[in-house]
Structure formats: C-alpha cells, structure tokens
C-alpha cells in the first residue's frame, strides 16, 4: 500500500470518526438543550409555586391570629380579675 492510500484511509477514518463523534455530541447537545429548556420550565414552575405558596402562607394571617389570641388572653385575664373582685 502506498503511503498516500494509508493516509487517505486514515483521513477517512478520522473523518468518519469526526462525523460520528460530531453527530453524537450534536445529539447530546440537542438533548441537553432540550433538557435545559425542560428544567428551566420546571424551575420557573417551581418558583411560581413558591410564590403561590408564599402568597397562601401570607393569606393564612397567622400574625393576625396570634394578635387575636393575645388579645383574647388579655381579655380573659381581665375578666378573671373582674370575676374575683365581684
């Protein structure tokens, strides 16, 4: 075999290797991009859910309920004092 033929064959192999390799990485990259999009959507969804949860949490008004509880406890104390004084 000639040296040129060997080089050509080698080049063809390299080409084929580069093509297949390139194609593989391309597909991987596409897949990754698609995954990135999905994950980004999911992350957005998660943050939306988090906002909604935070909104719901705020709507629970636990602070107001605590204040109401404290107010009722103070009132009870006063009423007990009043009852004892009668």
């Amino acid at each position: 075999m000639d040296k040129e033929k060997i080089i050509n064959i080698f080049l063809i192999v390299v080409i084929l290797g580069a093509v297949f390799g390139g194609r593989y990485y391309y597909l991987q990259s596409t897949k990754a991009n698609s995954s990135i999009e999905n994950v980004q959507k999911k992350v957005e969804q998660i943050y939306e859910d988090i906002s909604e949860l935070e909104f719901k949490t705020n709507n629970l008004h636990t602070l107001q309920l605590s204040a109401e509880k404290s107010r009722l406890e103070r009132q009870l104390k006063q009423l007990k004092k009043q009852l004892d004084n009668i």
């Binding site: 093509v19 390139g22 995954s35 988090i50 949490t57 309920l65 509880k69 009722l72």
Partner: protein, 263 residues
C-alpha cells in the same frame, strides 16, 4: 484528492470539535440549570414546609382562639350571674335594712308617743295641781277675806254692844214704889251699874262664869227694882238688853279668838 480529504478531515474535525465544545457547554449549562432546579426544589420544599407549619399554626391558633372565646363567653356569663346575684343580695339587704329601719322608726314613734302622752299627763297633772293650788289660794284668800270681814263685823258688834252696855250702866229706875224707900232704889241702882260693869268686863274678858253670875245678879236687880208694882218695867228690858249685849260681846270675842287662832 488527498488535499480534499485533508480539508474534509480538518473540517469534520473542526465540526466535531465544535460539537464537542457545544455539547460541553450545553452539559455545563444543563448542570447549572440542574443545580438551579435543585435549589429551587429545596426552596419549594422549604416553602412547602413553612406553609404546612403555618397551616398547622393557623389551625392550632384557630382552635385556641375558639377555646379562648368559649372561655371568655363562660366568664362573661359567670360575671353576669355573679353581678345579678350581688344585685339581688344588695336589694335583699336594702329591703331588710328598710324593714329594720321601719321597725325602728315605728318603735321610736311609739316611744315618742308614749313620752308625749306621759308629758301630757304630767302637764295635765301639774295644771290640775296648779288649778287646785290656785283654787286653794283663792279659797284661803276668800276665807281670809271672810274672816277679816267677820272680824270687822264682830268688832263692830262688840263696839255696838259695849256702847249699849255703856248706855245701860246708868239705871233708869227712878220711881220709887210706895213701900220701898229711895235708899233701896239707890242701892239697887249702884248694884245695877257695878253689875253692868261686871257684865262688860266678863264679856270683854271672855269669862263665861263671871258673866253668868253677873247677868243673874242683874236680872235679880231688875226684878227687885220692878217689885212690887212693876213700876220700873223698863229696867227689865234694859237688863235684858244689857245681858243680850254682854252675851253678844262674849260670843263675838270667842269667835274673834277662833278666827285669830285660825290665821
């Protein structure tokens, strides 16, 4: 051909390398996004945990608040009941105090009425006493006045009787009888005067015994003067008058003595 192959090879190697590079960056990007996803998921879990905790807290608070509200309602009812009982007790006390007060006032009014009745009785008794005393004083004054008047009357009678006796001291007999002489008449006349004086003295001294003997003597003198013919009849009447006057004086003096002793 060889050059073309080399070119193609280079190009494909370059393309392959570019794909590799792109893949690597995509993978890096993917890893980055996956980390973001993990973080987001962690935050989501935290948010969920926090929400669940807040829900539990809210439920617990709601239950506690409802319990507290029940307790508050119960206390308010207890206070209302106790206030009502206190009010009723106060009203009962007030009623008791009022009835005690009424009883005390009635008792005080009774005692006051009794005291006033007693005072009225005492006042009436004092008034009766005063009236009695006044009547007594009036009676005494009247009696005194009566006594004074009687005394004056008696003194006047005594004076008049004494005057009568003074008049009768002189015997009026002057006609002798044919039988007896003047000497007898004179003697009788002297005896007459002394007896009339004796009567006056006895009557004014209140000597009843002496007066009795003097009057008896005077009567016998008058009788002797009038014997035997009744020629000196006026002597009898004079003697009677003198004796009467002497008796009046005696009686009046006795009465005066009584009146003076009574004062």
């Amino acid at each position: 051909m060889g050059a073309l192959l080399k070119l193609v090879a280079v190009l494909t190697i370059l393309w392959g390398g570019w794909m590799y590079f792109k893949n690597s960056s995509s993978e890096t990007e993917l890893r980055k996004v996956c980390n973001e996803f993990k973080v987001a998921r962690g935050e989501m879990e935290e948010a969920q945990t926090s929400y669940d905790a807040e829900v539990k807290k809210r439920d617990a608070l709601t239950m506690e608040i409802s319990v507290l509200q029940e307790q508050k309602q119960q206390l308010e009812e207890d206070i209302k009941t106790k206030n009502k009982e206190k009010g009723e007790r106060a009203a009962q006390d007030l009623r008791n105090r009022l009835s005690e007060k009424d009883a005390r006032e009635a008792k005080m009014a009774e005692e006051k009425a009794a005291r006033e009745a007693k005072m009225e009785e005492e006042r009436a008794a004092r008034e009766a006493e005063r009236q009695e005393r006044l009547a007594q004083e009036e009676a005494e004054r009247k009696a005194k006045w009566e006594a004074q008047r009687e005394s004056k009357d008696l003194e006047y009678k005594i004076e008049r009787a004494n005057k009568t006796l003074q008049l009768r001291l002189e015997c009026r007999a002057d006609r002798p009888d044919g039988v007896q002489d003047l000497g007898r008449i004179d003697g009788l006349k002297r005896r007459w005067s002394s007896n009339v004086r004796a009567c006056m003295k006895a009557a004014n001294n209140g000597n009843e015994k002496q007066l009795k003997s003097a009057t008896k003597a005077l009567e016998s003198i008058a009788d002797a003067l009038n014997r035997p013919n009744g020629q000196n009849a006026e002597c009898l009447s004079d003697a009677a008058e003198a004796i009467e006057a002497a008796k009046v004086i005696l009686k009046a003096k006795k009465r005066l003595k009584e009146l003076n002793q009574g004062r």
